[in-house]
Amino acid sequence: MTAPAPSSHPAVHASGVWKIFNEGLPNEVTALQDVSVEVGEGEFISLIGPSGCGKSTLLRCIADLTHATRGEIKVAGLSAGDARQQQKYGMAFQQAALFDWRTVRRNVELPLELQGWDKAKRTARAMELLEMVQLADFADHRPWELSGGMQQRVAIARSLAVDPPLLLMDEPFGALDEMTRERMQNELLRIRKETGKSIIFVTHSIPEAVYLSDRVVVMSPRPGRITDVVPINLGDRNEDTREAEVFFAGVTAVREALRGRTSGGGIPARVGEV
């Protein structure tokens, strides 16, 4: 899978997005206030912020799992609803959410089944994906026989099944231990390099956000909004990246941004960013 040909629209375009729960009622909550962000093709951006900052809500609006109260969202040039129906994204959650009653391979085949692929094609594609995440040997195993990290790899393989241009990931490594986490991060970057997909990645972890992303979108709560966007320039990641000067600078920049101080220097914000 090579990088997709450049197209005329960004991978994701969100502008003036509001999400208000219980509008008009005493327990009204503004989860998202006038959020605008744009994700370029092939870009990896992270959404980071404390609880209640709206990062997961924003992701779900983009995924059409919930509807924005106000504002516009476009995914691959389509409305969020159309994008979902046309399977323009794959999604991974903090829980792998594999089906216990299916083998690993059949779990990966799930999106293909829903798209009506025939059996032979499904199996071939599933094996291809399992190869990519290096779990081909476990194709006939059951989910409970795999470790947490392995289950997440299967989930990621599943999210790639229909080869969508965009991946939406909601803290997928949150439940894993640190070592597994770092391994998974490298895996994800490798897959991204091979496939050239755009990725929106929600996380709680500053090092993770910095390590993975091209840009880190910093959000804060009450009401949920974007407060800063920190560009990251680590180049090709290797073993030494996590100990490099520029990595720590990025981590510091994000941390400062989270604390409410603006990121020092760096590439100016793009169009549409707050």
């Binding site: 779900r60 995924a63 059409d64 799992l65 979902r84 129906q85 046309q86 399977q87 994204y89 794959g90 999604m91 959650f93 903090q94 829980q95 792998a96 959410a97 594999l98 089906f99 216990d100 009653w101 799930l110 999106p111 089944e113 829903l114 059951r142 989910p143 409970w144 795999l146 947490g148 289950q151 997440q152 939406l168 439940a175």
Partner: protein
């Protein structure tokens, strides 16, 4: 010695000890059979009329099986409706609970009067009613209680409600179904048996237990009780066996 055999011998040992104490008690205290028969008397009655034990067991087991089958079918159909239409759920759950609270001893004479007492129908109906409740409640729960993340996953894959039902809810409900069956199967045997106390053909275990007890032949009555325990156990073990084949993932630590 396999793992399974090693797990079985403690309960068997306890059973043997229990029977031994019972036998000693009856013999040493000279307890008369009309009060409490000795295990030796019960077993001699049981093994002395094996054909009879078998034919009566088959009769009652057939009633239980019919009631179990139809009660399960009705329970499953209504569970599907209850998942789809929340109003059905709200309507039927208290109704089913109320019906389940009516004891077999009250239901049977009523059904005997409504339907032909000389046929199996009233007893099968009683069994159906008893079986329906656990099946309905558990399967409904299994269909409804899917993990929210799994529902989001399905939506993200653009799955229609019917597909969600077929690919997610129903497989999710299978362990719940077997939980229900583990309750319902022995209950069906009990219901079939007790409903035989109230009239109808006298070919089953229940009427024989009652008749033997009325004739003060408690050794024989208990022998029939042993047969009914065996039938109940067989039903339960059959459910376990089917569960192991159909749902090998039950009871495992759930995957993340």
């Amino acid at each position: 010695m396999s793992h399974r055999l090693r797990a079985i011998w403690p309960p068997i040992l306890i059973a043997v000890i229990f029977l031994g104490i019972w036998q000693l008690f009856v013999v040493l205290k000279d307890i008369k059979p009309y009060l409490l028969p000795a295990p030796s008397l019960i077993f001699s009655n049981f093994f002395g009329s094996l054909n009879l034990m078998l034919s009566t067991s088959i009769y009652t087991a057939t009633t239980a099986l019919l009631g179990l089958f139809f009660g399960t079918v009705v329970g499953l159909l209504l569970a599907l409706l209850a998942q789809r239409f929340i109003v059905v759920n709200h309507l039927f759950t208290p109704l089913a609970a109320g019906l389940a609270a009516v004891p077999i001893v009250a239901l049977t004479p009523i059904l005997n009067n409504m339907f032909n007492i000389t046929s199996r129908t009233p007893r099968v109906l009683v069994t159906m009613i008893i079986v329906f409740f656990p099946v309905f409640v558990n399967v409904t729960r299994g269909l409804v209680q899917v993990q929210p993340v799994q529902l989001e996953l399905m939506r993200s894959m653009n799955a229609q409600p019917r597909t969600v039902l077929r690919l997610l809810r129903i497989p999710n409900a299978i362990p719940f179904f077997f939980t229900a069956m583990k309750i319902a199967a022995p209950l069906a045997v009990i219901a079939a048996l007790v409903s035989e106390y109230f009239g109808g053909p006298q070919l089953g275990l229940g009427s024989r237990i009652a008749s033997s007890a009325a004739n003060t032949a408690y050794g024989r009555a208990w022998a029939y009780v042993v047969a009914s325990i065996i039938v109940g156990l067989l039903f339960y073990l059959a459910v376990l066996a089917v569960e192991r084949w159909a749902a090998p993932w039950t009871g495992r630590a759930r995957s993340a």
